[in-house]
Homo-oligomer: 218 residues x 2
DNA sequence: AGCGAAGTTGAACAGCTGTTTGATCCGCGC
DNA sequence: GCGCGGATCAAACAGCTGTTCAACTTCGCT
């Protein structure tokens, strides 16, 4: 997936070095401690840059959060859309439920892999989704076009189901995905006394798709 | 607001009136706007009490949050434990998966009903679970005894499944439950163009249990 | 070399935060 | 009536917040 010599994951385009430092430090701290618990001073200290850098490069702390959210969301949705597109190609435009669910679940689970740089990005996204500012919340409810691609595909693949039933089940599936936060995974580890291994993302993907597909096509 | 004579839901035991005012106002504001976005001044203004009331009656803002969380969690878990107990009685100590899942899901869904005073309490709990303080997070990972009752019952009801598989599926089910936040339900309504009605909690319960049971016993 | 824009810096700003304090009020038992 | 403990009050506290500003440096281009 990654190549040696590739530019920093955070910013493919060439930009000011400190801007990227701020971006990455902020994403990391937001993901670990939450937006409200991280101050601009925390970010600039972590990035080892001047305090004013955040406002100079991003305008405001809120704008910084939103820019991270926007970029990561676009990246994640792009991967999902590509997988859905490939599934369409393989099945003449009408892929089965299992492949649609896989396209929805595989990208975030890949990001969750321990060796992946994007593990922290996924945690950021999950956190931003529930703790984000009003701007982020509006962005989430406003842009349903991405999600609609999946709901439409699921409706087409489930001719026996009423549409609203499909929406509900998609809602449940999204809940399964968003449950993969550090805190919840920790609790799962405590409960299972360490027998669950979320690091094996391939096994986890199979597990999740099995569960969701069974719920969808019961 | 409430019928005369009925004791306040928030505090069955007799306590100082302003303490209850603070408790209820704080729960409401926390549920609607998040812990960090609500100041002590917001709470005392909403409750129409003096600013110092929070520290006088609860010690600190964090302690207030934790007390609300503790009480609501205890109430919710009590309902769940009672339903599991009744399912045990009905089935000689070995209830089927569907009844265990119902015991887990029905109480929070009942709280979600629009006419229910506890609708706001459920939103508070879901929010506190993901945005809460370190104390709340430790309380969640530390006290697995409540959840263990359900995982043990599910293991007994699923003899063909490896234990860790049961833990994972329980994890997914909890994700389905926690997905029922205002923001996520709003997005669902936008996506479905208003055809989903979360107010019909009985239908929602059936839907969720159907989905979860199919995933569990596939 | 020299100009101008872009970037960086330290310092300061006003505002809001949770918490504390000491005074005052209220109701109840003696 | 008196006193006492709990409850309420206005006021102030110190600390942290995001943001701004003007001075300074760095860099690219002619």
């Amino acid at each position: 997936m990654e190549e040696a010599g590739a530019p920093d994951v955070a910013a493919p385009e060439v930009e000011a070095a400190t801007k990227n430092l701020v971006f990455n430090a902020a994403e990391r701290l937001f993901a670990l401690h939450g937006f409200q618990n991280v101050s601009v001073r925390d970010i600039t200290a972590e990035a080892q840059v001047n305090l004013a850098s955040v406002n100079y490069h991003f305008g405001s702390k809120d704008a910084l959060l939103f820019e991270i959210f926007r970029r990561r969301t676009a990246e994640l949705n792009r991967e999902r859309a590509r997988m859905l597109h490939e599934a369409n190609d393989r099945h003449g435009g009408a892929p089965p439920v299992r492949e649609i669910l896989t396209a929805l679940m595989a990208p975030p689970l890949r990001w969750l892999a321990p060796a992946n740089d994007r593990r922290i990005s996924l945690q950021f996204l999950i956190r931003a989704r529930s703790e984000g500012t009003e701007e982020i919340r509006q962005s989430l409810s406003g842009d349903v076009s991405h999600l609609r691609r999946f709901s439409d595909a699921l409706i087409a693949a489930s001719p026996a189901l009423p549409r609203e039933e499909v929406y509900w089940r998609l809602h449940f599936v999204l809940g399964m995905i968003h449950q993969n936060r550090f805190a919840e995974l920790d609790r799962l580890n405590v409960l299972s006394e360490g027998t669950t291994h979320e690091d094996d993302v391939d096994a986890l993907l199979t597990r999740m798709v099995d569960f969701a597909e069974a719920g969808f096509t019961r």
